[in-house]
């Protein structure tokens, strides 16, 4: 009897200790590290709660599997915006009360402080990352400056790196074809618009090197395999500022989107998870993450003061962030509604086009 | 020992040497002639060079030095498949993915023989080994003895003039082995083929061969018909390797022609025939076959030296009685007696005197 009691106590104790941990699932690599440094560690220091970071290739399918299997071990997950919408639609996420999010450091209420679309029913944005294109400055001293230049093989000869997927590539083709950012999705929503995007891609298809993993894009540029390539802006920043590579980002025609924290339905520590998200998406939390990786904080108040890159202690992050006003002159916010509707359809078309 | 090659030899090894590593010789200056129709056995312990000789003859190994001739032609450079030599392997080497019939057809097909001719030859070869009904079986469905017969038939089906057999009966049980020995011998006689047979089983060699070449240490120690080999070994290796043998060490005290008087290390004097110990005062090892040892005075030649012996034990072996004696300081001296009605029964501890005909005691190299 006594033995059983001890055992039970031990089990309860163990269970309790485990429950006190907030488990955050993110993408690993530099991104995961930025969230560990910017969110996990300061939150633990500030609240005294325990939290651990786990890596995943893509947290969205992982938490879908967990929720469907009824065995949720993750409290907070970092997912792409479209996945946040999709998972929320399927009822796999806990709703997040937007009203409970903290006001900006300058006192602006959260509802006004966050960028439009940054807070949705089940997700709060942690950063804005962007699909940009970049080139090697040693090859083009008078570099390309517009999305149209990417598609101009005469003016800027050489191979092009492009992400192997429909999303962001079709929009980029339309931007390169002169479609104003505001009209891109209207055009893409018509069969003629899709044809137009593929026709634009056809003009450079023979010169394209397709990449799949985010790390491949800067590597292709570094190896001289391509003259310019689309890439995630953070990867180019890491290569250019972090490693001193002669890469230049062209912000014209950037296609940016939110990356968000969500709470899977049935998360073991839902309340603590909500507290973690409130902390991480506060002005300070967002700035802390942005100090480690060049993705823009989605709050106005977080962009007021200069953010200094934690990697070298001197580079000002502002010009490197997609949210910098100077970088937003011809920029497109990804439409998750469009992609939730058309992802499968356009990917099939894209794959078929690729194999032609 | 060397045998001068004869010009009419069917198979001839002339001054053949073989080394695998360039450091030591596995075969040292081999000279051997084999006549047409002869059954010659290469006998020796493992590592004596006999199998290497067979492999050189088959073409799977090349001689480091010297010539190998087949029917008067140098075959050193002839690849194995053009030598036309039949071969039976130790583990039969029947192709497991082919039926018995296909196995036998294989040498005929590669010779481009027509189907009708093939079938008649296969039938003849299978009948020859009493396996006519097994053409459609796979080797794995046959017993060891049956596989052996098929291997034999396959080696013979293309009418080779020379057949090599590499320990072909090694994997069979004793009874089957003895039965197959007679069959092979019978086939050899009825077909008139030349056989070179390799074995380490002396009984097999004695039963089957016209001549036996005893190999040791890369050389032929003695080449002789079985009876000569057994009764007149030319050195102590052959004497010990073939059959059971008593050996008594001593010194040659007197030498008259072939007659030698040997003083054993324990002091007794015995009669012997000098073979390759022919120096007065030289050391020798006297070899006597157990069945040639006598203990009844009436069976010994007049005036023969006898020596004292004590019976240690008598073993009943059915057809013979085997007595282990203490003689001249050794207690493993063996005497064999026929188990006849009138045979004297010896008892352990009994003191007797043993002797022998001088020509049965051979004074050999120590």
């Amino acid at each position: 009897m006594k033995k059983t009691l001890i055992l039970t106590t031990a089990l309860v104790g163990f269970g309790f200790a485990a429950n006190a941990d907030v488990t955050v699932m993110s993408w690993g690599g530099a991104y995961g590290a930025a969230q560990t440094e910017g969110h996990v560690k300061p939150w633990m220091a500030a609240t005294g709660n325990a939290a651990i970071m786990v890596d995943s290739d893509n947290p969205a399918p992982a938490i879908k599997a967990m929720v469907e299997a009824g065995n949720v071990t993750v409290d907070v997950a970092s997912v792409e915006y479209a996945d946040a919408i999709r998972l929320c639609d399927e009822g796999l996420l806990e709703p997040i009360d937007a009203a409970s999010l903290p006001a900006g450091a300058d006192g602006t209420p959260a509802a006004d402080d966050f960028f439009p679309g940054a807070v949705t029913e089940c997700a709060v944005s942690t950063d804005i990352w962007s699909n940009v294109f970049a080139y090697d400055t040693t090859k083009f001293p008078e570099g390309p400056t517009t999305a149209a230049d990417f598609f101009d093989l005469e003016k800027f000869p050489g191979k092009r790196g492009l992400k192997k997927g429909a999303k962001a590539v079709l929009e980029f083709a339309l931007l390169g074809d002169g479609v104003p950012a505001a009209e891109v999705y209207d055009v893409l929503n018509t069969p003629e618009g899709v044809d137009r995007a593929f026709a634009k891609l056809d003009t450079i298809k023979s010169e394209v090197v397709w990449w799949e993993a985010g790390a491949q894009a800067p590597q292709l540029l570094a190896d001289g395999e391509v003259a310019m390539t689309t890439a995630y802006n953070g990867r180019i920043f890491a290569a250019a500022v972090g490693e001193g590579k002669p890469f230049q980002i062209v912000w014209d025609g950037q296609i940016y989107e939110n990356e968000s924290y969500v709470v899977p339905k049935g998360a073991p520590n839902k309340d603590l998870a909500m507290d973690f998200i409130k902390y991480a998406t506060s002005t300070e939390g967002l700035r802390a993450q942005a100090a480690h990786i060049s993705y823009g904080p989605p709050r106005k108040s977080a962009n007021l003061e200069p953010i200094i890159y934690a990697g070298d202690g001197k580079t000002e992050m502002g010009p490197h962030l997609p949210t910098n006003p100077a970088n937003l002159t011809n920029a497109l916010l990804t439409s998750s509604d469009f992609w939730v509707d058309h992802d499968a359809e356009l990917n099939e078309r894209f794959q078929a086009w690729l194999s032609q | 020992m060397t045998v001068e090659p004869r010009n009419d030899a069917f198979v001839a090894f002339e001054h053949v040497q073989k080394s695998y590593d360039g450091v030591s010789l596995v075969v040292k200056d081999l000279n051997l002639s084999i006549a047409k129709g002869e059954f010659l056995t290469m006998l020796g312990p493992s590592g004596s060079g006999k199998t290497t000789c067979l492999m050189m003859l088959a073409g799977f190994e090349t001689a480091t030095h010297g010539e190998i001739k087949l029917d008067g032609v140098n075959i050193n450079q002839v690849p194995p498949h053009k030598r036309g030599i039949g071969m039976v392997f130790q583990n039969y080497a029947l192709f497991p993915h082919m039926t018995v019939g296909e196995n036998l057809a294989f040498p005929l097909e590669v010779r481009g023989m027509g189907k009708d001719e093939r079938e008649s030859k296969i039938k003849r070869a299978l009948d020859m080994v009493q396996m006519g009904a097994f053409a459609n079986r796979r080797p794995a469905q046959l017993s060891g003895g049956q596989q052996q017969r098929i291997a034999l038939a396959r080696a013979l089906v293309f009418d080779p003039k020379l057949v090599l057999m590499d320990e072909p009966l090694g994997a069979l049980d004793k009874q089957l082995r003895e039965h197959m020995q007679f069959e092979i011998k019978h086939l050899h006689e009825s077909l008139g083929i030349t056989v070179v047979y390799v074995t380490h089983d002396q009984g097999e060699a004695l039963t089957m061969s016209d001549r036996i070449a005893v190999f040791n240490d890369g050389r032929i120690q003695q080449l002789a018909p079985p009876s000569d080999l057994y009764e007149r070994p030319e050195n102590s290796f052959v004497a010990q390797f073939i059959g059971e043998n008593n050996k008594l060490p001593g010194v040659i005290e007197e030498l008259t022609g072939d007659k030698a008087l040997v003083r054993l290390t324990t002091g007794e004097l015995i009669d012997a025939t000098a073979v390759n110990a022919r120096e007065k005062g030289g050391k020798t090892l006297v070899s006597i076959r157990p069945e040639r040892v006598e203990f009844k005075p009436e069976m010994m030649p007049a005036g023969a030296h006898t020596i004292d012996a004590e019976v240690i034990e008598v073993i009943y072996m059915g057809d013979i009685l085997r007595a282990v004696l203490k003689v001249a300081g050794t207690d493993d001296f063996v005497m064999k007696m026929r188990n006849t009605l009138w045979q004297t029964k010896l008892a352990p501890g009994q003191k007797i005197k043993v002797g022998w005909h001088p020509q049965d005691a051979r004074a050999l190299d120590p």
């Binding site: 879908k64 009822g91 395999e225 359809e345 194999s355 032609q356 | -």
Partner: protein, 417 residues
């Protein structure tokens, strides 16, 4: 033997011999069963259950059937309605369900289900659900006024199809069928991709299998015939790829074969090609085949080696002594005996190649998409049913090949080592 079949044998005390034997062995059998039980359970749980779950998933989806009860009931009552012109009561049921979805927050779920066959439906449903409670009869007119897509026959066909929990829809999509206003039909030329990729996947896997076989055969033979010390050194070299991560190996091939890569640099340096004429060996089919062959080669070498190791050299000698040239000996004696190893290695390599997607994705460029890449795409985009349907078709194709293999060569002749 004859009496054993005609007469029932019994033990000394009169029990039937068979029963006595079974009783005598049952204890040993039970113990043996309990010994393998943990492994059996493990295999069942980790292997069969997920596959069964996947198969179930490929034809089962209740995303719409469970969230639109009024419409489901109406479809059931009117299975033969005209999708081009659904009656007012169908629209009434739809509006009722949309309003309900808005309350229950199931709009996304049901919209997603219809979106699988009718793209664009999720936002249509969301918009419709938001407005549903304010719509007034006649609902047909008011809904179509909201968005003309509500009148599309394809949408009504899609909803009718989705009102059943069990559906072959995902298999249709995976076979390049599209739901249009007249029902299911072959998709447009520029949208058909799945069957093409199935074909291509099998073709490339077959090609890689053949290349692996050609490369592995001499290596395995060498391994099987070399002295032990040298053979184990060579074996380490063969197994070396297993000790590094797949990504590292793939990246190494990129570094070697890309246009500015080491091989091209050497060729240019030797003057064999000029700087303009650098060979394109990466980001195309060549790259995919080279990298995948490298990754899969050990799976061919190991079974071949294990078979070759036990083929005694006396077979080849026997064949030679029987008059066969070395080529005939190889073709008729050696090769047939290595068949179980060839078959096992080929099966392994082929099946592994069919399921590969990381390597072709990274080095394959535009050509490098295989069917597994699409399975992966639909998994990440949360259309698991379609992913399951494609995977099930792949599984079925492999099982057919396996069956053919069994018929032609025989599973009992398979030797994995």
């Amino acid at each position: 033997m004859a009496e054993a079949t005609t007469e029932l044998l019994t033990t000394a005390d009169g029990r039937p011999l068979k029963a006595a034997l079974a009783a005598a062995q049952s204890r040993a059998k039970r113990r043996a069963f309990f010994l393998v039980l943990p492994l059996l359970l493990f295999v069942l749980l980790t292997f069969l259950v997920p596959i069964g779950y996947m198969l179930k998933r490929s034809f089962e989806h209740d995303g719409f059937a469970s969230t639109a009860p009024a419409l489901v009931a109406w479809f059931e009552a009117n299975p033969d309605f005209d999708p081009a012109n659904p009656p007012e009561e169908a629209y009434a049921a739809l509006v009722q369900d949309l309003a309900r979805m808005q309350v229950e927050k199931t709009t996304g779920l049901s919209g997603t289900r219809i979106n699988y066959s009718v793209p664009g439906t999720i936002s249509l449903f969301k918009k419709g659900a938001r407005e549903a409670k304010d719509l007034t009869p006649p609902f047909k007119e008011s809904l179509v006024a909201l968005d003309a897509d509500w009148g599309r026959p394809a949408l009504w066909r899609g909803m009718q199809s989705a009102s059943h929990v069990y559906t072959a829809e995902f298999y249709r999509v995976a076979s390049d069928m599209k739901l249009n206003d007249d029902g299911w039909a072959r998709g447009e030329d520029n949208e058909r991709i799945y069957l093409y990729l199935f074909f291509k996947t099998f073709l490339i896997s077959g090609l890689i299998t053949v290349i692996c076989l050609l490369l592995a055969f001499p290596v395995s033979h060498l391994l099987a015939t070399l002295p032990m010390a040298k053979a184990s050194l060579l074996m380490i070299l063969v197994l070396l790829p297993f000790w590094t991560s797949l990504l590292v190996r793939t990246t190494a091939w990129i570094a070697l074969l890309q246009e500015q890569g080491i091989v091209n640099d050497i060729l240019v340096g030797m003057g064999l090609i000029d700087d303009e004429g650098r060979l394109t060996m990466m980001y195309n089919m060549t790259g995919t085949i080279v990298a995948m062959t490298h990754v899969l080669l050990p799976f061919m070498i190991l079974p071949l080696y294990s078979v070759m190791r036990v083929i005694p050299p006396s077979y080849a000698r026997a064949a030679r002594s029987l008059g066969a040239t070395s080529w005939t000996t190889f073709r008729r004696v050696y090769l047939p005996q290595t068949l179980p190893g060839i078959a096992a290695g080929s099966l392994l390599v082929f099946i592994l190649a069919v399921g590969y997607y990381i390597t072709p994705a990274l080095v394959g460029g535009a050509d490098g998409q295989l069917i597994s890449n699409l399975i992966s795409f639909h998994m990440t985009k949360s259309n698991w049913s379609l992913a399951a349907a494609i995977a099930a078709m792949l599984l079925a194709a492999i099982l057919v090949l396996y069956w053919l293999y069994d018929r032609l060569i025989g599973i009992d002749r398979l030797k994995l080592g």
